[in-house]
Symmetry: C2
């Protein structure tokens, strides 16, 4: 009995699509990294990935570069490329930025959100509860992301959401690591609900506090994770150049 439906690390790239191959390779690799299919510290070779996906090295290389920009892959020229280990400092740095941006976004949402938009937020909350009832953790994480995204997009903060998306990647690896076990999902829904309530009552300050508290709680289990999976963490000893 496997934890995932599919053990093969990567799903094949479907042809007959005019979307650039490099972009699809990037998405697939990013997905695999965030979902811990590739473990932190593991070496990745351009040639290997290209062979697995049935494409040439060129698009794989471009994907590698973008992954490096996203802070998920470390490219050591003439030596190799490695999944960066989870760094507690880096994750908290990402959280810091995410909190700053999302707190600003939710303040705007409290000021500008329309009743229709608030209704959409609540609809998402209901689905979150359903996903929890059905023990569907993956579905919950999707809804969670959709929830935060919809708040940002509802007030036209597309670029802000793009920034948050990048910061999330760092955090989500840690979250995925802690997922099958006890993550107090109902508690997260309660926090989401209080965020929406504050938005609905146009209380910007309360919305900011709720969002801030929510984002700080997410990583509460990080130190424990570091102890449980020491090999996956960096322990903030930056390796020499």
């Amino acid at each position: 009995m496997e934890r995932d439906q599919e053990r093969p690390g990567l799903r094949p790239i479907d042809m007959d699509s005019n979307e650039p191959v490099a972009r699809r390779v990037f998405r697939e690799l990013r997905r695999a990294i965030v979902r811990m299919v590739f473990l932190p510290g593991q070496a990745l070779s351009e040639q290997d990935i290209a062979d697995q996906l049935g494409v040439s090295r060129q698009p794989v290389r471009e994907a590698f570069i973008k992954l490096a920009d996203a802070g998920l892959l470390q490219i050591k020229p003439q030596r190799g490329s490695f999944i960066v280990k989870i760094s507690v400092r880096q994750v908290f740095d990402a959280r810091f930025v995410r909190e700053a941006v999302e707190v600003a976004v939710v303040a705007r949402a409290a000021a500008e959100a329309t009743p229709g938009q608030i209704e959409e937020f609540r609809a998402n909350l209901k689905q979150q509860a359903i996903a929890i009832d059905e023990r569907d953790h993956g579905r919950f994480m999707e809804l969670d992301e959709a929830f935060h995204r919809s708040i940002a997009l509802s007030v036209g903060c597309d670029y802000a959401w793009r920034v948050v998306e990048e910061t999330k990647a760092q955090m989500d690896r840690a979250r995925y690591l802690s997922m099958p076990d006890a993550t107090p999902l109902p508690r997260l829904v309660a926090q989401h609900t209080s965020i929406v309530d504050a938005i609905a009552s146009h209380d910007a300050q309360q919305a900011q506090l709720a969002m801030s508290a929510h984002l700080r709680e997410i990583l509460a289990s990080l130190p424990e994770l570091e102890k449980r999976f020491p090999a996956l963490f960096n322990h903030d000893i930056p390796d020499p150049p």
Copy 2:
């Protein structure tokens, strides 16, 4: 009499360096775009740039992709690549994110900055005044960036500064456009000073207000610029796919 010392748009890539060519090409192109050497709307060709810089197309292509990620270049597959026009909406989106992050950073600085660090900030302020006296706008912009960066790095917000750096690119094009004329530089120094004063007195709230006001003022002239240089702006009519 030219506005720049050098009219040739790009400086040649110096060889005898082990830094990847692609990275240097990226930096040089980014510099040229932000400094309005390449005008918004202008087409850029991989082959052209490669010939001008004396390198092959491959590193140029990689630089193009990174520029596209930074929102400075639009790559239209099988059609061409174009310097994106300045979009008032996009610039304000960038400012929104930058304000969110830097306000959070400065709050932390007010809480944690040491006397030595505050002394460094003040030293930078003095140099800003000198640059203004010498009418050296370019130098002032460098010091301005260094000022904001030093605040972020002083409290360990390296990643936050990296995010700010990306958002700045959008804003700086507009700032460069308005630079030779009347930008009230002394006023900016006064704002910088009040930020440092708030940090020095460990008044987080005051520091946040000062930073927020400062960042909002920077783009005050943007609507006027749009009227003066209509060809360089997007007017937020998103062109069809």
